[in-house]
């Protein structure tokens, strides 16, 4: 997708999100959905960058998110670090963790990477619930119940005042989105695509797979960890239920709706999926059932995601219109 169209879609989306509190500022229910859309949009974008652009089958995205959340919560609860620094530190920790996970993945072929990263996800549950997790302050099966809210410049951004928190999230979201777009459209992004298409050929052109793969792991896990940490201070309590499969599935629906490797599509995917998830919430036990079925159906029938074909339709109509003018 061209840079111009990407920027148009993203600017339009974030401007729209930016004015939303003017209409829904009083309704906590909708504000909560909007905040979750912003957070998930970035997390899903990171997944798209690592999977769609760099072609690494990383299934550890939720794991990075949870590592960020827990790291920040443990830092601020057990070590009394002010939340702002805790969030930044947690992002750095998650970035390092991402590089660590990325290291064994360098030598491995596609499905093995999925297995290793998914295994990391699965190990986090017994780790955080078990004695090792309790030793570092994860609170075991109960989780961490009192994560302090972020306070910055004398203002407190907590779940009681949703509008300020929304704008804080929006601010961070926009910064991270700019970073991601710059990466995708820079030399790095081209290198990722080259590595995805043919690793040997890319290597012959002097693109170091080692460097770029570790970089993409580090970058995406850093941003994911940042938003995980932000989420921890937003909801104020954490438990290992964040690692359950339905969270992973929600993320997967976003990327399937958006299209793998069709970058801004995943942002729209996040909007649709988070809203859908909220509407399905009263279904209780049937919600994951429906989510699973949705994944199966969408993967089967959506080749490029939902967003990309629509954009193509619009642009082809525009082009047709233009040629029409030219002919007349």
């Amino acid at each position: 997708m061209s840079l111009k169209r990407m920027v148009v879609i993203l600017v339009g989306f974030y401007c729209l999100m930016g004015v939303m509190p003017l209409f829904f500022g009083g309704t906590d229910y909708i504000m909560n959905i909007l905040i979750m859309i912003l957070i998930w949009a970035v997390v899903a974008s990171c997944w798209d960058v690592i999977m769609g652009f760099a072609g690494i089958f990383s299934f550890g995205q939720v794991a990075f998110y949870v590592v960020g959340a827990y790291a920040s919560a443990i830092l601020s609860v057990s070590l009394h670090v002010p939340p702002v620094y805790a969030i930044l530190l947690a992002a750095v920790i998650t970035g390092l963790f991402g590089v660590l996970v990325g290291l064994p993945c360098l030598k491995l072929a596609g499905p093995y990477v999925a297995l290793v990263t998914f295994a990391v996800h699965m190990t986090l549950v017994p780790f955080l619930r078990g004695p090792m997790g309790r030793a570092i302050g994860s609170g075991g099966a109960q989780g961490i119940l009192t994560v302090p809210p972020v306070s910055l410049f004398g203002m407190t951004f907590s779940s009681e005042h949703l509008v300020p928190f929304f704008y804080l999230t929006l601010f961070l979201t926009i910064i991270c989105t700019i970073i991601l777009v710059l990466v995708i459209k820079s030399y790095w992004g081209t290198a990722f695509l080259a590595l995805k298409d043919s690793e040997n050929f890319a290597a012959s052109l002097g693109i170091s797979a080692f460097k770029y793969k570790l970089m993409v792991f580090g970058l995406t896990s850093f941003i994911t960890g940042l938003f995980g940490a932000l989420y921890a201070h937003y909801v104020g309590m954490l438990s290992t239920r964040m690692l359950s499969m339905d969270v992973f599935t929600i993320l997967m629906i976003m990327i399937v709706i958006g299209g793998i490797g069709k970058y801004p599509g995943v942002v729209v995917g996040a909007v649709i999926t988070v809203t859908l998830n909220q509407f399905l919430a009263p279904m209780g036990m049937y919600r994951p059932l429906i989510m699973g079925a949705i994944v199966v159906v969408l993967v089967l029938f959506l080749r490029d995601g939902l967003v990309n074909p629509i954009i193509r339709l619009i642009s082809s109509r525009q082009k047709a219109g233009r040629t029409g003018e030219y002919l007349s």
Partner: protein
């Protein structure tokens, strides 16, 4: 102390034999079709529920004999249809491997919560296949364990026989070695893909029927089994049947001894450490080819 170790060893051996049965099925399906099945654990649970449904509410005549007899066609049809309906249409895409992973992950969630909504969230226990014990010296063996071991080993031998001596088995091997070449000599590739998937479903379903007698049918336990089966396959070398046999017994032992010595909560961590270390040192696995 010594007797305890013998007990742990036997439990590792029994678990290992069933894991071997399941992992061989998984490695076969990966070796032949290159499809990464994330819903494997859910088929294990399907086996458990299949046996439970026939034995407890329906009280089928013949007990476990009829369960095994009915399980073969049932799982073959389930596996065959799933491959034809869900996985085969994806093969035409470039990034179909990723799509298969996503689809099977969604499928596993669907199946797990499907079991929960149909059978309820509580775990179910299966009656043991045979009661009674055998004493060898001071060691007490459950006859159930012996039967499970014999059944899973004979299941594997049976599978090996099918693979090496029947036309279908040889066609499966041909497709695994060179799909295009196999197609040129007239082997129906699509049928072989579906049949392989179906055979692996039968094997994991049998694993479920056998192991759920000891471990209960837990609707949420499928990811655990899936990870185990995948770890064994990766550890043994993807596509290498002998490698996954060894790996299954090693993992069964590791699990039994770590669970006994350190506690069950460390089992998963130990398993995954083993996986990571193996992949870091020998990315192709124990017996895998480069």
């Amino acid at each position: 102390m010594f007797l305890e170790i013998v007990d742990v060893f036997i439990s590792g051996l029994i678990n290992g034999s069933v894991y071997a049965l399941m992992a061989v099925g998984l490695t076969l399906v990966y070796g032949v079709t290159k499809a990464f099945n994330f819903a494997y654990g859910s088929f294990y649970n399907l086996g458990g529920y299949f046996a439970w449904l026939l034995l407890i509410p329906l009280t089928v005549v013949g007990g476990y004999y009829s369960v095994f007899f009915l399980a073969v066609p049932f799982f073959f049809i389930v596996g065959y249809l799933l491959e034809k309906v869900l996985i085969a249409p994806l093969r035409k895409y470039d990034d179909w491997e990723m799509k298969v992973m996503m689809l099977t992950l969604g499928l596993s969630l669907f199946m797990d919560f499907g079991y929960q909504s149909v059978f309820g969230p509580r775990i179910k226990s299966l009656p043991s296949i045979i009661d009674g014990t055998v004493e060898i010296g001071k060691v007490v063996l459950f006859q159930q364990d012996i039967v499970i071991f014999i059944l899973s080993v004979s299941g594997m031998l049976c599978f090996g026989w099918v693979l090496n001596n029947t036309r279908t088995g040889m066609a499966v091997q041909a497709v695994a070695q060179n799909p295009a070449g196999a197609q040129i000599v007239g082997i129906p590739k699509d049928f072989i893909f579906a049949a392989t998937f179906a055979i692996s479903t039968i094997m994991v379903g049998f694993g479920g029927i056998l192991l759920c007698q000891k471990n209960f049918v837990d609707p949420m336990g499928s990811t655990d089994i899936m990870i185990k089966a995948w770890v064994i396959t990766a550890f043994g070398g993807m596509g290498s049947i002998r490698g996954s046999l060894y790996a299954a017994f090693i993992l069964g032992m590791l699990e039994a001894f770590v669970g006994w010595y350190f506690g069950m909560i460390h089992v998963q961590i130990a398993t995954l450490t083993l996986l990571l270390v193996t992949l870091a040192i020998r990315p192709q696995g124990l017996m895998g080819r480069e």
